[in-house]
Each structure stands twice: as structure tokens, then as C-alpha cells.
Amino acid sequence: MKNNIINFVVTIIIAVILSQFLPWWSVMVAGFVSALFFSLKRAAVFFVPFLAIFCFWAVYAFMVSSVNDFTLAKKIALLLPLGGNAYLLILVTGLVGGLAAGVAAVFGKQLGGLVR
């Protein structure tokens, strides 16, 4: 459990820092790197970084958009189409980021196992 928490926290920290310099795929790097160093077991390999980035992106998106009354988020949620529901767009945003990080983490775990 401890490992899970460490991985979760480290993934978020790396992602937040890298997002300042790198494009969106910095979350994949974050998932990948933390899996290399903080090896998890079974489903947690995917779900812990998934959850970490899900939270990071969803909270970040909410923070940016809520200040502006979700003006654009509602429109993008019409476009995609998600029925104009900004919260649904935040959910999808979290899922997309989480998926990317989780998959990269599974690869990181495999590569880490090989090196170790």
C-alpha cells in the first residue's frame, strides 16, 4: 500500500513539473518513470498512475475553467459531443490523461523488471 501511495504522489509531482516544459505526453513520461523506480503489483501497475494523472488533469482542468465559468468547456462539450456538459468533459479529460499515463507505466514496469 505504501508503494502505491509513493508511486501516486511521485507520478503527480513529475507530471506537474514536466507539464511546464513538455507537451501533453509528459504525463506518459511521468507514468513511465515512476513505474521504473517504484514498482507496483498487478492491476495497481496501471491503476495507480492512471488515478494520479486522472486527478491531476481533472483538477487542473476544473481549476482553469471554473474561473471562466466553464464558458469554453461547455462549448467543447457540445463539439465532442458530450451534450454540453462541462463536468463530463472534465471526466473525459481525466480518463484520457490517466489512460496515457497508465499504459506508459505498464511499459515502464516491464522495462524496469528487465533491468533489475
Binding site: 511546464q20 507537451p23 504525463v27 474561473v67 471562466n68 464558458t71 463539439l79 468533459l89 523488471g113
Partner: protein, 804 residues
């Protein structure tokens, strides 16, 4: 086993990366797009409009005050700084639109959205849009100052583009996954070409040729007269033209080529037009002249207009600007106000080209052969290989139609002769108007303006009002350019141009007002040949009737006139129908609808049922009347509304009233009844599906986003009445794109509004915040600042400072 797992997870990672980083069909690259740090979330905010910004190449600081409507008021120390700041500020709010419109003009939309735009792009290239822009730039070189100003504007735009990183790109770039390129002076020329195409890029010569061949001259002249039996021209009829003493071009003998043309390129919307008018001080309730302008264009978001105040120690001007062009286009300064409507003149003709052989290197001209040139158009396409299109050029212009494009004859082509290819410095006149102080300055400013020809209305604090129909017009022989011309006959070339001083105009006419609404500029007395190239016949009469109806007019009268919904077209046909249509076969449901329209007062107001019934009924009636003009083998166009109604009411048994598909012979009255029954049926169905067919619901006015009218970025079901051919010319997706009223007090007091908002960012409240007020006919006061001291109406101030 370990390795297999490694490889599988590696591949999976790559696949997920690729899928989230790539635009798939119309879905944006979803990972990149939804990234809160760099994607679309970053656009969910307002622009920063305060603080300091360093700009390269400024000579002094420029102050920009933003009022509560997000209108920038720019105070610069000289012209170069001013236009640089205009470029920077316009790009800041409208960058994507500026680039998209100029890409559209250049035929480069496929680069952004892929193969679906290829036909559009080819058409732009074959129209010679890029060629025209190059000609324009070359002509502008004659005036180095214009070029210097355009370069300053360019540098301003580019300062903004360079300041952007990925996360600040406008949302459309993220959606379509591309990046802005540097602005150039050619892009400004392309924008002016975009306007020229929109306003002077239409003609029906080839359709008329088909009609002439098919129906003969007599019937052609009946359906398409040079002048309708009523004419209320822009220049009052009593004008004396005797000062015009140049020779008219003689009509050459010989035949016109009566070729069959199957297909023609898309035409600009025939509703592109406008209203403008001004009353003299004597006719104004306050004693100051009052001027109004409302250009009717496609209703789009971001709007084609961007309101600005531009100021230097020498002058101070405010009004609507076109993102991409310099200066104010429709506006006012402390001395004058001006506005434009489209002059609609035939400045686009077609010439039949006979090539010597299939190599098409030479074509017949006189007794000789003339060499062609080739312009290879390279059309880049997103996600596909580049298409090359070789367009042949003659001395007339580009051979638009040949066996590679909409035609099939290897030895014959059709070349376009267009004023848009001639080149002209059509930026300068606006810059000079911005600084003009009186009537003479105004005339000097517009003198060199060539295209798209406009009716420039004018009013000054000195008390003058005027209107000039200004453009470069070929001095045509009678009938020239109405039909396809013979490109091998030198006499068919444009022989000369009408000397500018003889362009029709009027200053301080006795009647105390000037006005234009895209109607015929003149009556038959004007010595030069001007045929009916689609002139409007309704708005002008409503406007002029009003101004003739009383002595004094106020700003409120002007507002009411902008919002006037009187449907003169319906008022000229319906009473005749009521009188002559046989009602005996109507069912009770039909009778109900008949009574609804019969009780209508001919005003297209939003709550009324009459306009909906009329709209459907008339369009059916029009289509069935001109069933003779439906053809897949040849391009045809059906007669104008005015002549249609004229024929129905004065000659109801005319052979054209007959429906070709039926054995019996129909009259206009038969058509009225038949189409009424169909209308009733469809309206009942419409009601079952959508509810009450009041005019607002039935018309469904909307303002669509420039990019394929993306519904998420558009506005729908606006509560505005009117329609085409009505002074309030708002149809479903077209109408008054800017409404301005200026009273020439000192300083002038102005009102303005447009169906959009100052920001181009759909994430801003300023993206569409004018739309609702525009729809209900409200105006916003324009805060014409007399100096650069911020008042309590200024919500933020930004300073552009020269960077070291």
C-alpha cells in the same frame, strides 16, 4: 516471455501515444487537445488586456484603452506605430480568422481541412485570386508609403504571433492541429481580394448566353430588361449629365458566340449588399447631418468586423475595421463620417478562347495568334498528396474553364476578364478617408479606388452630404459583357474605362438626403452603358419613400429604419393574388392558413405567421414559374424577383406560367392555388414537428462559426425579423453585419453594433456578447475618446512599449 511482454507493452504505449497525438477524421488529437496545461482548457479564459508589452520596432509607446465592450482605443504618436499597433491588437483578438480568410482567398483551405476543400481551392485558383493579389501588390509599389504602412501592420501581427506559445494558440488551431504562419503584405492584398470576390465577383454572362440561345432575344429581353419599369436610382433622376462629353464606345458588328456551357463556378451570395443613407442638416431634427450604414453579409462568428478607435496627434478615427486590412473601413472622425454599400456593376466578363492546337500555347486574336502563359497552382492537401493545377493565362485573364475544369473541349476555353485582376491600391483610399476633413478630402481619398466598387456615402460637420459611386468601370458598348464575348475579336475587349470624374455622384441634392441600397445607380439618362446586373428594387423604395414622407429626421428614425420590416415585395403581389385566386377548392385547414396570411400587414415581425406563409409560398411559386430554367445540361439562372412579380401581375397568361410537366396549360392563378395548397400542407407538417410557425421560429436566424458553422461555436434562433429585400435584410444566415448611425455634431456622436463580439475566442464572454442586443434592434454608444486620458468607461489599459 519477459521480452514478449516488454514488446507488447512498448507497442501499446506507442499506439496510445499515436492515437492521442493525431487528428483522426474530424476528431482533434485528443490527448494534446484535452491537456489542461497546453490544450483547449487554456483557452477557457479572457485575454490579458492590461500591463506592458514590449514590441520590436515601435518608435514610441502606444496606449490602448479598452472600454466595456472590449473596443480598443489606440493612441499612437505616428502612423507607423499606429498601424503596427492595429496589426498587433487585431491579431491578439482575431488571429485565426485573419489567417483563415486569407487562406480561403488564396485557395489554401485544403491545407488545413483536407480533401473536402479541394474543389473550393481549385475554384479560387482558377478565379485568379492569387494572381489578383500579386497584381494589387505590384500596383501598390507605386505608393511606397502604403507599402510601409502595410509592413508596419504586418510586423505588428507578427509580433503577436511570435509571442504565442502552443498553449496560447487560438482554439481553432488546436481543433484542426496546425499553427499560424507569419503575416505578409500579400495576405492584406488577399483579404482585399476576398472582399472583391465577395462583392464584385458575381456575374451571369454564361447563364445568360444559354438563355439567349434557348429562348431567343425577344423573350430574353422580356425576362431580363436593362431597366425595370420602376427605377428609384441612387443618383436622383433629375440629375443633369450634360457635362459628360466623352464618346461612348460603339457597338461592333458581328456575332456573339452562343456556346453551351454546362456548369459554372460558385457565385457570391446574391444577398451581399447593404444600405446607407444620410440626411442634411436641414432635414435633421438637430440641425446636424446624420449618416447610417449597414453592410449585409453572411452572418459569421467571429464577425467580419472589428471595431476600433485609431488615433495619432494628427487625427482621430473610429468605426468598423476588417481584420487583415489597415485603417477604419466604415466609420467617422471629428470632421466626416462615411460608409459603403456595394455598387454592383458588371466588372466581370467571359471570353471564348480558341486555342491553335491541343498544346494550348497560342490562341486566336484578330488575324493572328497570341501566346499564352501558364501559372502552375500548387494546392497542398492535409493528409494527401499535393495537387498541381496548370491554369492558362491570356491577355483577357485566366482560362477558368477548360478541359481540366468544368468543361471538356481540348481546344476551347473560357477566360475571365475581371477588375479584380487589374490591380489597384484599394488600401490607400481608406487610410485617406480616415484623415479626411471635408468633402474635397473625401473625393480625393476615394478617387483612386478601383474595386470592389462601392457607393460611398458621406456627411460632414461642415454640413455637406454626398454619395459617389466609386470604382473603376469599363466604358462598355451597349450590350457588352452581358453574354459570352468572342476572345478572338479585339473589338470585344474592354476598350477604355469611364473617366473617374464621370462616375455618378451627387452632393447636397435638393431633396436633402442621399441613400443607396444596391439599386440601379442611375436612370437611362446616364450616358454610359449600365445594365441591370442584379440590382435590388425593394429596399431602396422603402428607404426613399420614408425620406420623402416628412421634413425632419432624428437618430431614432434612423434606428427604426434599420429595423424596418416592411415587405414591399409581398405587398406588391399578395393583393393581386387575393383578388384573382379561386378559393372554392380550399379545405377548412387551408382556409385557416389563407386567412392568416390575408390578415397580415406585410411586416416581417418575429411573432407573425404571415411572413412564414409568404416565404414558403413565394419560393414555391417562384420555382414553379421558372421550371423552364431547370436543366442539368446547361447552366441557367431564373429571372429576378421584380420581373417575376411584374410578369405574374401584368401577364398572368404568359407561356412561362405553364408547368412543363403537365398536359394542361396553367396560368399564374393556377400556380397561386397549386403552390398555396402545397405551402399549407408543408406548414401543417412543419407545425406538427416544430410547433408554431411564427416568423422567428420558421426563419431560424443564426450566426454560424466561420469554420463549417460548427454548432458549438454558433448562435441559433435569434429573435430578429426582416428578410432579404427588406430594409432589415436579415434572412436565416445573412443580414446587417454592422449597423452604424453617426450624428455629425462636434465631436460626432455615434452608435454601432454587429452580430458578434470583439473577441475571436469562443471561451470569452466577448465572443458573442453583441448578438442579443443586435437581434432586438438595440445599439451601443461608441465611446469616441477625444484624448488618451482614461475615463471611468475604460476597463483596462495596456501599453505597447518599444523593446530595446
Amino acid at each position: 516471455m519477459k521480452y514478449i511482454k516488454l514488446i507488447i507493452t512498448f507497442v501499446l504505449t506507442i499506439v496510445v501515444f499515436y492515437a492521442l497525438n493525431t487528428k483522426l477524421g474530424s476528431v482533434p488529437p485528443i490527448g494534446k487537445f484535452l491537456d489542461p496545461a497546453g490544450g483547449v482548457w487554456q483557452n477557457d479564459s479572457e485575454e490579458i488586456i492590461d500591463g506592458n508589452v514590449n514590441i520590436k520596432g515601435l518608435s514610441a509607446s502606444v496606449i490602448i484603452h479598452y472600454d466595456e465592450q472590449l473596443i480598443p482605443h489606440i493612441f499612437a504618436q505616428n502612423d507607423l506605430d499606429l498601424y503596427k499597433a492595429q496589426g498587433y491588437i487585431t491579431a491578439k483578438h482575431r488571429l485565426w480568422q485573419m489567417e483563415f480568410q486569407t487562406h480561403a482567398a488564396a485557395g489554401r483551405i485544403s491545407e488545413i481541412i483536407g480533401e473536402t476543400a479541394l474543389n473550393y481551392d481549385r475554384t479560387s485558383r482558377r478565379r485568379g485570386m492569387g494572381f489578383g493579389a500579386e497584381q494589387m501588390l505590384e500596383k501598390m509599389q507605386e505608393d511606397p508609403e502604403t507599402i510601409k504602412f502595410m509592413e508596419a501592420y504586418r510586423d505588428g501581427v507578427n509580433s503577436y504571433i511570435e509571442s504565442l506559445d502552443v498553449k496560447n494558440l487560438p482554439v481553432e488551431y488546436k481543433l484542426l492541429d496546425y499553427k499560424p504562419e507569419a503575416w505578409t503584405t500579400k495576405k492584406t492584398a488577399l483579404l482585399l481580394m476576398y472582399m472583391t470576390k465577395m462583392l464584385a465577383g458575381g456575374d451571369d454572362d454564361l447563364e445568360y448566353t444559354n438563355i439567349l440561345r434557348k429562348f431567343g432575344k425577344e423573350r430574353f429581353d422580356l425576362l431580363f430588361p436593362d431597366f425595370f419599369d420602376i427605377n428609384d436610382p441612387i443618383i436622383p433622376k433629375e440629375t443633369d449629365w450634360s457635362y459628360i462629353d466623352v464618346e461612348m464606345t460603339e457597338t461592333p458588328k458581328g456575332e456573339l458566340p452562343l456556346d453551351t456551357i454546362a456548369q459554372t463556378i460558385e457565385k457570391p451570395n446574391p444577398d451581399n449588399g447593404s444600405n446607407n443613407w444620410a440626411v442634411s442638416g436641414a432635414k435633421s431634427t438637430t440641425g446636424n447631418p446624420i449618416l447610417a450604414n449597414d453592410p449585409h453579409l453572411g452572418l459569421k462568428l467571429p464577425s467580419i468586423w472589428f471595431v476600433m478607435q485609431l488615433s495619432t496627434p494628427e487625427y482621430n478615427v473610429m468605426g468598423a475595421t476588417l481584420p487583415g486590412a489597415l485603417g477604419v473601413i466604415s466609420g467617422f472622425n471629428n470632421h466626416i463620417s462615411w460608409g459603403e454599400t456595394n455598387a454592383t456593376r458588371d466588372v466581370l466578363d467571359w471570353y471564348k478562347i480558341q486555342f491553335k492546337d491541343k498544346t494550348r500555347t497560342q490562341y486566336k486574336y484578330g488575324d493572328d495568334w497570341k501566346n499564352t502563359t501558364v501559372r502552375v497552382e500548387e494546392i497542398k492537401i492535409k493528409g494527401a498528396v499535393t495537387v498541381l493545377d496548370s491554369v492558362i493565362y491570356t491577355h483577357h485573364g485566366p482560362v477558368t474553364y477548360d478541359h481540366n475544369f468544368m468543361s471538356d473541349n481540348g481546344k476551347v476555353g473560357y477566360a475571365m476578364k475581371w477588375i479584380g485582376h487589374k490591380g489597384g491600391n484599394n488600401q490607400r483610399p481608406f487610410l485617406d478617408l480616415n484623415k479626411a476633413k471635408n468633402y474635397d478630402d473625401y473625393v480625393n481619398a476615394i478617387k483612386g479606388y478601383t474595386a470592389p466598387a462601392q457607393n460611398f456615402v458621406f456627411a460632414s460637420t461642415e454640413g455637406d452630404i454626398a454619395i459617389w459611386i466609386q470604382g473603376l468601370f469599363p466604358n462598355k458598348w451597349e450590350g457588352q459583357g452581358k453574354f459570352l464575348l468572342d476572345g478572338s475579336n479585339p473589338e470585344h475587349d474592354w476598350q477604355s474605362y469611364i473617366p473617374q470624374a464621370y462616375n455618378a455622384h451627387t452632393k447636397n441634392p435638393e431633396r436633402g438626403f442621399v441613400s443607396s441600397a444596391n439599386q440601379h445607380p442611375v436612370d437611362e439618362q446616364y450616358p454610359f452603358y449600365v445594365f441591370n446586373d442584379g440590382y435590388e428594387t425593394y429596399r431602396n423604395r422603402v428607404i426613399n419613400d420614408l425620406f420623402n414622407s416628412k421634413d425632419k429626421f432624428s437618430v431614432d428614425d434612423f434606428k427604426a429604419l434599420h429595423n424596418n420590416n416592411y415587405n414591399l415585395k409581398a405587398a406588391e403581389l399578395l393583393p393581386y393574388i387575393y383578388e384573382t385566386m379561386d378559393l372554392s377548392s380550399l379545405t377548412s385547414e387551408e382556409k385557416e392558413i389563407y386567412n392568416q396570411i390575408k390578415s397580415w400587414d406585410f411586416n416581417n415581425d418575429i411573432e407573425k405567421l404571415g411572413p412564414s406563409i409568404w416565404s414558403k409560398w413565394y419560393s414555391k411559386l417562384y420555382n414553379i414559374t421558372w421550371d423552364e430554367f431547370e436543366s442539368e445540361d446547361e447552366a441557367l439562372t431564373s429571372p429576378y424577383t421584380y420581373q417575376t412579380i411584374y410578369l405574374m401581375t401584368t401577364n398572368p397568361e404568359n407561356e412561362f406560367m405553364d408547368i412543363m410537366d403537365t398536359p394542361q396549360k396553367e396560368t399564374a392563378q393556377d400556380l397561386f392555388l397549386l403552390t398555396f395548397k402545397e405551402t399549407a400542407k408543408e406548414l401543417i407538417e412543419w407545425k406538427a414537428k416544430n410547433g408554431n410557425y411564427n416568423w422567428q421560429a420558421y426563419k431560424g436566424t443564426h450566426v454560424g462559426h466561420l469554420l463549417q458553422a460548427l454548432p458549438a461555436f454558433s448562435r441559433f434562433d435569434l429573435p430578429i425579423g426582416g428578410d432579404r429585400n427588406i430594409v432589415n435584410a436579415t434572412s436565416a444566415d445573412h443580414g446587417p453585419s454592422w449597423r452604424m448611425i453617426v450624428e455629425m455634431s462636434s465631436p460626432p456622436k455615434a452608435l454601432g453594433i454587429y452580430p458578434g463580439g470583439q473577441s475571436g475566442n469562443p471561451g470569452s464572454i466577448y465572443y458573442d456578447n453583441f448578438v442579443d442586443d443586435w437581434a432586438i434592434g438595440k445599439y451601443h454608444e461608441l465611446n469616441f475618446m477625444q484624448n488618451d486620458t482614461a475615463t471611468d468607461q475604460i476597463m483596462a489599459t495596456q501599453t505597447l512599449t518599444p523593446s530595446k
